[in-house]
């Protein structure tokens, strides 16, 4: 896996944590965030958050009393959720990277009914809506505040 600064242990813990946050689901037919393709994307995308991610992983190892990846898979979610309360800004940065990569995966997007494509150039369709909804507002007198009596009527709304 491409990575130029996280240790092997940190990579293991990060992957285990990603999978604990977002596990695979047969119900929704989606991979977990520890899926190889998604996790490679996570490692490639640390960029500005690399230091925070390292801090969060160090804190996690202390919190868990050892390598998070060594915890029984059934217990990881409970530990991760407890860590969620104390992880602070570094953990928030780590989770942000996980979510950024997970929810742009083709398989995940399709499971949500989204087209796996950038917004441009196809764009999207937004319905005009019913402009007659404005009729009661159109019927109101001016509500802007009089200033020097110039073209102003009514008062505060």
């Amino acid at each position: 896996m491409p990575n130029d600064s996280l240790s092997v242990e940190q990579v293991r813990d990060l992957r285990a944590l990603a999978g604990a946050i977002i596990p695979a689901s047969q119900t929704y037919n989606v991979p977990g965030a520890d899926d190889e393709r998604i996790f490679n994307d996570i490692l490639r995308s640390l960029e500005r958050d690399r230091d925070d991610v390292c801090r969060a992983l160090a804190h996690l190892a202390t919190f868990a009393g050892g390598a998070f990846a060594d915890i029984e898979p059934e217990r990881r979610a409970a530990v991760a959720n407890a860590f969620r309360d104390v992880g602070g800004a570094p953990l928030a940065a780590l989770v942000r990277v996980v979510l950024l990569c997970y929810y742009r995966d083709d398989r995940v997007m399709r499971s949500l009914g989204q087209e796996p494509r950038p917004p441009f150039p196809k764009g999207h369709v937004v319905e005009q809506g019913d402009w007659s909804l404005l009729d009661p507002v159109r019927a109101r007198p001016p509500i802007y505040r009089p200033v020097d009596g110039r073209a102003t009527k009514g008062g505060a709304g």
Partner: protein, 532 residues
């Protein structure tokens, strides 16, 4: 040394572009120095699959996070609201939502009407023709007939209501409260070489379609064709003065980082409410030991942001999510002062269409709404594309202790001191925000939303940088006069949001540009005796 120019403009954003275009008809030699570079439409995030991720990297709204070579750091540790800006041709019009309300007539008369702050030395009527001209140049979409404003005629029809807007409209009608489609600089028809909006839905960090008006694609092509020179990657360090106390030019660092001197007959500052006082305070001399044109001591003081109180909830059906321009409606129901309330002045509600699916996941995870573990997927599917929200954009009254100074330690990559902000939200603003949150909850309830959430103030909500070199007729109480000329230096002008006397409760770009056009017109009218 470079040849002397007639007019030197510092900054190519909303106001710098407008003043450059307006002055171009004089055929003077006009040069604009911009510390950023051109941004190609193909560089905008909506071209790629990582379009939401780039909001956290090279298109982050916060310059400290974005940290491009063209950005400068800002020490905002002592402010609950962080600065949002962009440095490039077009300035922060590259990084705005294109919401385009004008100030209201009452905003220019707050001392007279409400006994607070100070009146502006100009009024809405004076700016009205420049509002209209700017609407035409920027290309405004909207709907005539809003009872909250004097008559105006946007050149293009409004952006669509969509599912979210229709839901809000019904809720507001149920409550009997004002609402109206927003004026926006997103083109709804092909306009002046720009393509019409195709609902990319990711307007804030630039529009790949070119439907959103940023001044690099509105004013600048016209200004350059008319002969204005725009020099990019030039970071101005200071404005120099001559033995008579007149501005003589600027010292700047060019694209190679080499120091240059550019002489000029007239200097116009257009660097926004943080960049402008930073530059002025860094322009010291024997005559101006506290910064250029600062005999009032007000350069950098009276910083106003507009605190935003965001309230949102979730409905039981999919809405528009991030599809379409993010802001579609406003309400002025609570804009004008009401003596029955426990605060003066008021706020605009701006209604949001929704957010992207990744932003939803991040925000909801941070807030603890989005489950981790086995419940994650079911939890997420109750949130994505179901958000409906609105913000109260509150008038921020001027207070001298809210200020921009030069940081004694932090510097940019050119070694220029960074701006340091000291800012607190006033008691009046807090009361206004609480009022807005309470009304927003009523609106969301009427719109069928539940799971109501509040973010107040919006942390990264310092879009509007105002008041730090304000205008007025009294040189002891203002930095520039009623047509933008510095009281102390008669060939130095300021045209950006720094010169605002009060903030109103609206997004400021429309009024900033109308002011810039008005000042340019004032300069043109006085060319024969500009320095008298």
């Amino acid at each position: 040394m470079h040849d002397k120019v007639d007019v030197l403009i510092i900054g190519s954003g909303a106001s710098g572009a407008a003043v450059a275009w307006s002055l171009a008809e004089t055929k003077m030699h006009i040069l604009c120095l911009e510390q950023g570079d051109w941004v190609k439409p193909t560089d905008y995030p909506s071209n790629g699959r990582d379009w939401e991720a780039r909001l956290f990297s090279d298109f982050a709204v916060n310059p400290n996070r974005r940290a491009r070579p063209t950005d400068y750091p800002i020490n905002d540790d002592n402010s609950p609201i962080k600065v949002v800006n962009f440095n490039g041709v077009g300035g922060s019009t590259i990084m705005y939502t294109a919401h385009f309300p004008r100030l209201h007539p009452s905003d220019f008369k707050v001392r007279t009407l409400d006994g607070v702050a100070e009146d502006w030395p100009i009024d809405y009527a004076t700016l009205e023709p420049f509002f209209a001209e700017n609407d035409r140049m920027m290309g405004v979409s909207g709907l005539a007939g809003d009872p909250a404003y004097p008559p105006k005629q946007p050149p293009m029809p409004p952006v669509p209501l969509g599912k979210s807007g229709a839901r809000f409209g019904k809720a507001m009608n149920q409550l009997g409260w004002h609402w109206w489609p927003s004026d926006t600089t997103i083109a709804t028809t092909d306009y002046d070489g720009r393509g019409r909006c195709i609902n990319l839905g990711h307007c804030t960090p630039g529009c790949a379609q070119g439907a959103k008006a940023s001044t690099d694609i509105t004013y600048w092509p016209h200004a350059i064709r008319a002969g204005v020179e725009l020099r990019t990657l030039c970071r101005v360090r200071e404005i120099t003065t001559d033995e008579h106390g007149m501005a003589s030019g600027v010292i700047y660092y060019d694209a190679k980082g080499e120091e240059q001197f550019q002489p000029a007959e007239v200097v116009i500052i257009a660097c926004n409410g943080v960049g402008t006082p930073r530059l002025m305070l860094n322009s010291v001399s024997a005559r101006f030991p506290n910064g250029i044109a600062n005999s009032s001591g007000l350069v950098g003081k009276n910083l106003m942001f507009h605190p935003y109180a965001l309230t949102y909830g979730y409905v039981d059906e999919p809405l528009d999510g991030n599809h379409g321009p993010p802001l579609c409606l406003w309400s002025k129901q609570f804009y004008e002062t009401d003596p029955q309330r426990d605060f003066v002045r008021g706020y605009t509600f701006q209604f949001g269409r929704g957010v992207g699916s990744i932003i939803e996941a991040i925000v909801s995870s941070t807030a603890g709404r989005l489950a981790w573990g086995e419940d994650h997927h079911a939890s997420y599917r109750k949130l994505v594309n179901r958000r409906i929200g609105l913000s109260a954009i509150c008038e921020d009254l001027p207070e001298e202790h809210n200020r921009v100074t030069l940081d004694p330690v932090l510097k940019d990559s050119s070694g220029i001191p960074a701006p340091k902000l000291d800012y607190t939200i006033s008691a009046n603003s807090h009361k206004m925000m609480q009022h807005g949150i309470a009304r927003a909850k009523e609106i969301l309830n009427a719109a069928g939303a539940s799971n109501i959430c509040v973010e107040s103030p919006i942390l990264n909500g310092g879009w509007h940088l105002l008041g730090t070199a304000r205008m007025g007729t009294d040189p002891e109480r203002s930095v520039v006069n009623e047509w933008g000329r510095c009281h102390d230096v008669k060939n130095l002008f300021i045209v950006d949001g720094s010169i605002w006397v009060t903030s109103g409760g609206v997004n400021p770009t429309s009024t900033i540009q109308a002011l810039a056009l008005y000042i340019a017109d004032s300069i043109k009218q006085r060319l024969a005796n500009l320095f008298d």
